[in-house]
Symmetry: C2
Subunit: 223 residues, 2 copies
DNA sequence: TCAATAGTGTCTCTTAGACAATATTGA
DNA sequence: TCAATATTGTCTAAGAGACACTATTGA
């Protein structure tokens, strides 16, 4: 499978994030084929025009082969391209990112022949191709959204406490947030719904919240 | 030139913006070939792997055939794709946008056989392919930046007054801004340099400013 | 009671927004 | 002087940040 001078190789890569144990993690795949055999990489694959209605469709098809649940949130980051990023020749890789709730990481299929790994962002190994740059760009998109107060509700379980939500944001931003400031902002946030249920525990129980139906990880008012 | 089922058509489109007479304008080209012959469209072209080192290189090559000046600012917006967006078949179009200073729109070449037009954003005609969606996305990127106080210095002439800069921002955002608020923010902005030159006129002369060398239309502190 | 966590209150400081006031020029 | 535009100041309100305080639970 090589690209010739007329037709570039068209591939899709996916940065699949989760927050587990208060740490932001990324799904990596150990490459079982050349090129870059044996290196860790983002999950990805080659576009199949006869199967894929568009690039997002291709991303979903590829995700489906690794993950057994449907992901609501899948968003394009940008495209990487050039003669040299892939040894097979001139290539275009369009990067998508997706968010997987922590309570569903069991949905990652282990039967695959591939070696899969949830890797903490802080300690990623060297990656194949230009995937380190890709991770950086995907992270930028996610962090910029959370920093501008868009809630990463796609990463939460169905019912969650505000402390859990805050820890999730902190894991993404890699910095601690002030509890009071965080909660004050949520007072006016229509994306989450206060429930009359409480989480039991050894200490004072925390109130449960859930995401509004149809919430999005996106700017509320599009300019 | 048709794409077959194995190899999608790979094209680049460009949204070239300027602000002239306090209005945001976009360069459009009347298509002289099928498909969509006769319709207005964004300037664009097909990737030539043997010529283009990457997609941005392709965008620059295509721009060069329309514009006789080098553009500092050229940035990827996103990629559009699918079976149906181009009647020639499965295609990927990567959209870039660029900013041209108002005093350099003469650099748009008229000798071309193509019909060119600077069109006000407010009154764009119907466009070919999915170019209306593309314009919307490019606008979103530009507006989001200006709204978050990144100065569109790439659109200004070498020396400019603060009123001119404000009018430029207003044209992009399509809303008026408060003079006092606008200037207050600029006090702390390191991207512009106060000059000891003034613009003559029938009224009180306005101070000239210029952009810092190496300024960018981009977020200062990357997250 | 205490430890631990949930949740609220309070103070200061910065900034945005609206609008008024002052400054400078040529006619 | 006046009209027109440039530039600065002032008041208020909203929000961010830091930190202290109160509330509720099980042990």
């Amino acid at each position: 499978m090589t690209s010739d001078i007329l037709n570039p190789l068209v591939v899709i890569d996916i940065a699949l994030f989760t927050v587990q144990e208060e740490k932001l993690k990324l799904l990596l795949v150990k490459r079982s084929n050349t090129p870059e055999k044996g290196k860790w990489a983002l999950p990805g694959g080659i576009l199949i025009p006869s199967k894929d209605s568009d690039l997002e469709g291709a991303a979903r098809r590829i995700l489906k082969s690794k993950i057994s649940v449907h992901l609501q949130h899948l968003e394009q980051v940008c495209s990487f391209s050039g003669k040299h990023r892939d040894p097979r020749g001139w290539s275009i890789s369009t990067l998508y990112y997706a968010l997987l709730p922590a309570d569903q990481i069991h949905a990652v299929m282990n039967e695959s022949v591939e070696d899969l790994q949830w890797q903490e962002i802080q300690s990623c190994p060297q990656l194949a191709f230009d995937h380190e740059l890709q991770v950086k760009k995907a992270l930028q998109v996610v962090r910029r959204k959370v920093a501008s107060h868009i809630l990463p509700l796609h990463l939460m379980r169905k019912k969650f406490t505000l402390t859990e939500l805050q820890k999730c944001c902190e894991a993404i931003l890699d910095q601690t947030l002030d509890k009071s400031v965080f909660r004050r902002r949520l007072k006016n946030n229509l994306e989450i719904i206060e429930l009359d249920e409480y989480e039991g525990g050894a200490q004072r129980p925390a109130r449960f919240y859930m995401a509004r139906k149809g919430f999005e990880f996106n700017y509320q008012e599009e300019i």
